[in-house]
Structure formats: structure tokens, C-alpha cells
Symmetry: C2
Subunit: 205 residues, 2 copies
């Protein structure tokens, strides 16, 4: 493995800029020349690093889904403390999951946007992989939510989880203009409280 004193790889630069552009104008709305220009090379030079435009999108989406799932599993394992899950504190785990998702939504807005917007542009095999990762991520949340609110039927719990994702992923929609935005910490706290409030309201029949 190369020593990392060189800053981000060319590949990483490309992926980052591509994510931003795809999020801003949509996959079909961005040309390869623009992506190239964003990293200082032009057009076909990208093909030294990726097989094609589709491959960039695929790598982005698989990366996002994988990162979310891996992070969630790590957090669950930490909160579990080596036990078998029967004695873990669901409230603590849920808070940790929410925190992780919020960090992602606030720090990687373009990726969050892509994640639920451009999935259909993938090749079948890639799309299946991404959906599988997403589904595992959702089911992990559903399990914890149902531990906390046993009265909640499984379909309702799954819908509730999707809805909270919608809530947490809403930050990209906040308008750019002059109106004052809450700071990052304020925003994180607000989103966290709202997510908990939404689950509580869903779970108390």
C-alpha cells in the first residue's frame, strides 16, 4: 500500500467532483468533459482511471451503501459490548445509529443526494448489490426500533425507518440564500431530537 503523504489520489479527486456534479445536475445532465475539467484534466483522460461514466456512478453508490452499512454494524457491535445482543440497551444503540447517519448526511451531502436519486441508472448487477446493502442497513435499524417499541408491527417499523431517513436526509434541500441557517451542531442536535420524537410517536400506539 502506498504511503499517504501525497494527499488524495487522482481517482479520489475524480469521484469527489463527479459526486458533486451528479448531485447538482443529475447523472445525465453532466458530461465527461465537465468532470474532467473539474479535476484539471479534460474529457477522455478520465478513461485512464475508470472504465466509463457508469463505472464512476457505480463506485460512488456502492461505496456509500457499504460505508453506511459498515459504520452501522461497527456502532452496533460497540454498543453490544461483546454480548449476544440479548442484554444490549436499544436506546443507546438507536442514538448511535442516528448520530452516525446524521454525520454522514451533514458531511457528505452530495453522496446522500445521489444515494436515493440515481440508483436506477446503474447496471443490473450493480443496482442489485446496492439495493442489497441498503436493505441490510434498513433491516438493522428495523431490528433495533422493534426492540425499543415492541408494539410496532414490522411493516410499520420499516416505513417509520424509511421516513426517518427522509427526515435526516433532508438537509440538502435547505436553501442557499441569505436566510440564516443553524450551525452544524445545532442542526445535528435538532435532527437527532426530531428523529427520536418521530420514532416515539410511531411506536406508542
Amino acid at each position: 500500500m502506498a504511503t499517504r503523504i501525497d494527499g488524495p489520489t487522482r481517482r479520489e479527486q475524480i469521484l469527489k467532483e463527479a459526486a458533486r456534479l451528479f448531485a447538482e445536475r443529475g447523472f445525465h445532465g453532466v458530461g465527461v468533459d465537465e468532470i474532467g475539467a473539474a479535476v484539471g484534466i479534460s474529457g477522455p483522460g478520465l478513461y485512464r482511471h475508470f472504465a466509463g461514466k457508469d463505472a464512476m456512478l457505480a463506485e460512488l453508490l456502492v461505496g456509500i451503501s457499504g460505508q453506511l452499512l459498515t459504520g452501522a454494524r461497527r456502532r452496533l457491535a460497540e454498543a453490544d459490548g461483546g454480548g449476544d445482543g440479548t442484554d444490549r440497551n436499544p436506546e443507546e444503540v438507536l442514538d448511535s445509529l442516528i448520530e452516525g447517519h446524521i454525520d454522514f448526511a451533514l458531511d457528505d451531502r452530495p453522496l446522500i443526494t445521489l444515494h436515493d436519486r440515481e440508483l436506477d441508472r446503474l447496471r443490473d448487477s450493480d443496482r442489485k448489490l446496492v439495493r442489497q446493502l441498503q436493505r441490510q442497513y434498513v433491516e438493522l435499524w428495523v431490528e433495533i426500533v422493534r426492540e425499543m417499541y415492541p408494539a410496532l408491527a414490522e411493516p410499520s417499523a420499516r416505513s417509520a425507518v424509511h421516513s426517518v431517513f427522509g427526515l435526516l436526509n433532508s438537509t440538502p434541500h435547505l436553501g442557499r440564500p441569505g436566510s440564516p441557517l443553524p450551525g452544524r451542531d445545532t442542526m445535528a442536535t435538532l435532527l437527532h431530537r426530531m428523529a427520536r420524537g418521530a420514532f416515539a410517536a410511531a411506536g406508542t400506539a
Copy 2:
């Protein structure tokens, strides 16, 4: 005004199918030939009804924003009961707003999807109009929310409203496959409770 025994106008058919296709594959991902085929005519025949592909998207987005705003104003006026707003019951108004938004999200999924996905593809003037309508809709909610939760600062209230929109608009993301979905009424009740819970959690310092 033409008597309406003829069913939907050609224009209306086209708009409906275009909305569905745009929502499914994105504005740039759909060709005019496909839109034409979806209503039984082909390709350039659409230009007898619309100035171009852009015009269809513009009419859709302006229509959505206008419908949401108009509906919200009507509901607010009804709940206001002819008063000047000083003695209205904010809880009642908020419930009515939530109900209206949920009806829209559940009954017009493609439009809700377009609404926050393809705004940037519009001409400048149209985009400004849509944003203005959206902003008025948001401010209307913010006003009511702040009446109910005076402790909530305005930037936080605005963020909270955006987040609840994200929650309510999350229904298109529910997967198609076999896993059982809640029925429409169950879903509406669930979303309503979660929205109220989220606001309550945001508003209680």
C-alpha cells in the same frame, strides 16, 4: 369552459405520463418519443400541445407548487374561521396542513418526486417562480409551527419544517418487492403521528 364529459384532455394525459416518466428515469433520461408513445402519439406530435420538453417540466413544477400553496392557504382560512388569526387554534391548523401534505404525497408520488429533484432543469424565470411558491408554502408552515412552539427560533423552525417535508415525502422510496406495505390509511396515520412527534421534539427545548 368546456364541458367535462370527455375525460382528461390530451394535454392532461401528456402531463401525467411525462410526470411519471420524469420521476422514474429523470428529466434527461426520458426522450420525447417515449412521452409521445406513452399517450399513443409519437415524438414530435407533442409539439402541437407544448412548446418543448422544458415547457412540460415547467408546467408540472409550477402546478405542483401552486397546488400545495393554494391548498394550504385554503386550509388555513378554513381553520381560521374568518378571524384575523389571533385566536385560531394552531394545533388544529397544523394537523390540517399535515393532512393535506400527506394526501398529496400519497396520491401524487411522481409529482412529489419531481418537486425536489428536477428544479434545477428549469429556465431561470420558471425556477424563480417555483422557488417563490415553495418559499411561501414553507413560511406558512413556519408561522404555524412557531405559534405552537414559541420557544423554537426561526432558523430552527424552518429547518424543522424542511425535515418534516423530507419525512412526509419519503413514501416514494418504499421498495416495490414482496415485503408487505402498510395500507394507505395506516400509512397516513403513521406519517401524521411521526410528523407531530418530530415537531414536538423539536419544539420542546
